[in-house]
């Protein structure tokens, strides 16, 4: 049994700025040992503990899809010491990776279902992974129709414009983009995510909603879905909590007896209703 605290080593292959203010970047990492990449079997919705060794480690959702072969990607907003160090790093720098961690989106259970993806802000990363996975030609027939509702504060914050444009061209996926306030040249929706959920009114028939965003967006979107007769079991959420180890030992990410790091980060609304409101 390998020591789970020892990171695998990767190199920054590329880095792309994702937004206008330049504080969100997507890092593409290439494993130094080919064998470690081969064993890095992940599903959308999982995360990894990634580190600039010497600065620190933090949990970040995996933004790439397992169908994008060769590298893994993480989208990181510049916030504290570790994330700022990432933003200061360069192509060729060494990055430590421990993972994949967490349960991820239940891709097996989603088979045969219509999927309504609801995301807000830069939490969209693991949703990007999920959508790319479902749209991949190997998997497309396994899943029903995909509806994406993706909200941001303003147009400059919309991530992954390259893939969004491609999705908009396809006829097996509906992409609804929204921003909080009106802007010149913005031709999509305007309003908070919950209001757009109400407007789009996705059918709960044979469907599952996957929700990821800031806590207030998750709660308001859930409420709208419930008003549209969605059952709590049909609504899946990916939670964030402060965590250090990612393997259920350091303690801090518990909600009641569950640990977000190993029992989550994905919980259904039905599960959350059984848990204390401490997230």
């Amino acid at each position: 049994m390998p020591n789970p605290y020892i990171p695998m080593l990767t190199k920054v292959k590329s880095m792309v700025s994702e937004n206008e203010v330049n504080d969100i970047k997507t890092f593409e990492l290439e494993f130094i040992k080919e064998e470690e990449y081969k064993n890095f079997n992940y599903i959308p919705g999982q995360y990894a503990e990634i580190s600039i060794i010497g600065k620190g480690e933090c949990p970040i959702g995996i933004a790439s899809s397992p169908t994008e072969e060769g590298t893994i990607k993480f989208t990181i907003k510049k916030m504290g010491t570790v994330t700022s160090s990432f933003h200061n790093s360069d192509v060729g720098d060494t990055i430590g990776v421990r993972g994949p961690l967490g349960n991820g989106w239940p891709m097996e259970e989603l088979k045969g279902k219509n999927i309504v993806v609801i995301g807000g802000g830069f939490a969209f990363s693991t949703l990007r992974s999920l959508i790319l996975y479902v749209l991949d030609e190997k998997h497309r027939k396994d899943y029903g129709r995909v509806t994406v509702i993706y909200g941001n504060r303003n147009s400059g914050e919309v991530l992954y414009r390259d893939v969004l444009e491609e999705w908009e061209k396809r006829d097996d996926i509906d992409v609804v983009l929204t921003i909080d306030r009106e802007e010149d040249d913005w031709t999509r929706k305007v309003g908070f995510v919950a209001a757009i959920v109400k407007e789009v009114a996705p059918s709960s028939d044979n469907a599952v909603a996957v929700v990821c965003g800031p806590p207030i967006m998750i709660t308001t979107a859930q409420n709208e879905l419930e008003k549209l007769n969605w059952k709590a079991e049909q609504i899946l959420n990916s939670l964030e909590m402060r965590m250090k180890c990612g393997i259920g030992k350091c303690g801090r990410c518990n909600i009641g007896e569950k640990y977000v790091c190993i029992d989550g980060p994905v919980f259904s609304l039905a599960e959350l209703k059984q848990m204390p409101k401490e997230h």
Binding site: N3, I6, I53, T94, G96, M241, C245, C250, G251, R252
Partner: protein
């Protein structure tokens, strides 16, 4: 007869024989308190003590320890794993409650898909010489959590203090091999064994606190939102002594200590506490447990509700350290009483200790 006798005068002999093979830890006096330290001289061992201030947990799970070291060569990183995790350790003079805590820690660190190698390797390489409690402290309540002042189960060798000598019992295979090596130990007489049993009985009878923790767990599970938590947390000053001195608390933070001038450093883990508001504070500013009412509740719920759900036992060994350490006397026994009072009020009968 398998039981042996170790004269207190022969502790030096025991030490000099075992210190060649083991890193030898024992109770010592540090700044006026009893603490488990690695000793280099038998004179350092403190034999007259009720229990240590800091539990011997810190031998296997120190307040601050290296996870791995690293060095930079240009942009490349070389990781150096610890090589001392399998060094043989001997911990002498562990009280039964603390010995039982090693079992809880072992179960916790081995639970789930990920094994905490840093702890588990050290645990496997360690031998525990336990010692019965002739005089349990007033704050002790091990008999309420399935323990006993003379419980041998989680030790390898068990000692009973008979005045000028110890009765020595080998408990585990590891313990049997160790006792076999100490061929100079004399055989115990029936009177010695009887005396040990008598001491065990006396110690057990001296307990004044007895809780029914199955009931505590049930009441906790039903009263997460009860106003009693406001009352319980009111006097808490968040000093965290209860968690730092707890033999079953395992929370830690992870930090990189970087020696920039030498292009190297180490990743360490360091004890952390659920009583601190920083413990759960997220980078965004969001905090799932911002108030002390939630933090006090989390500590009690973790020990007596979440632990039973996950590991089928309470996460407490009844050592009483949190009781004697609390600077505002917001002590566990009173907290448990308040929780049980919820049930009493509902049922209209007295059930707490």
């Amino acid at each position: 007869m398998d039981e042996k006798i170790l004269l207190k005068d022969n502790i030096g002999k025991l030490y000099s024989e075992l210190e060649k093979e083991y890193k030898f830890y024992a109770p010592t006096k540090v700044k006026g308190n009893i603490a488990f330290s690695r000793i280099s001289n038998v004179e350092e061992i403190e034999l007259e003590f009720l229990n240590s201030k800091v539990p011997p947990k810190d031998v296997l799970f120190p307040q601050k320890e290296t996870i791995f070291e690293y060095k930079y060569e240009g942009k490349d990183v070389i990781i150096e794993e610890r090589k001392d995790l399998e060094d043989k350790l001997l911990i002498f003079g562990v009280r039964p409650c603390d010995a039982y805590s090693f079992k809880l820690l072992e179960d916790f660190f081995a639970f789930g898909d990920f094994q905490d190698e840093v702890f588990l390797k050290k645990r496997e390489s360690s031998t525990i010489i336990g010692i019965g409690c002739n005089n349990p402290r007033q704050s002790c309540f091990c008999t309420s959590v399935g323990g006993h002042p003379f419980q041998k189960e989680s030790t390898d060798v068990f000692l009973s203090d008979l005045g000028d000598k110890y009765l020595v019992e080998a408990v585990s295979e590891k313990g049997k091999n160790l006792v076999k090596k100490l061929s100079w130990l004399s055989d115990a007489k029936k009177a010695d064994i009887d005396k040990s049993k008598e001491l065990a009985k006396q110690a057990e009878d001296s307990f004044t606190t007895k809780f029914n923790f199955d009931l505590v767990t049930k009441v906790l599970d039903e009263n997460f939102e009860h106003p009693v938590w406001q009352e319980i947390s009111e006097s808490c000053i968040g000093c965290s002594s209860c968690t730092f001195l707890c033999p079953t608390c395992t929370c830690f933070d992870v930090i990189d200590e970087n020696d920039e001038y030498n292009n190297r450093g180490r990743r360490i883990r360091i004890w952390d506490t659920c009583q601190s508001c920083l413990y759960t504070l997220e980078t965004s500013g969001h905090n799932p447990r911002p108030e002390k009412i939630q933090r006090c509740r989390n500590r009690i719920m973790h020990k007596f509700s979440y632990y039973p759900s996950n590991y089928d036992c309470v996460g407490c060994v009844g050592c009483g350290r949190c009781i004697s350490a609390c600077p505002v006397n917001n002590e566990l026994r009173l907290i448990i009483d308040k929780i049980l009072e919820i049930e009493e009020k509902e049922k209209g009968e007295k059930i707490s200790a």
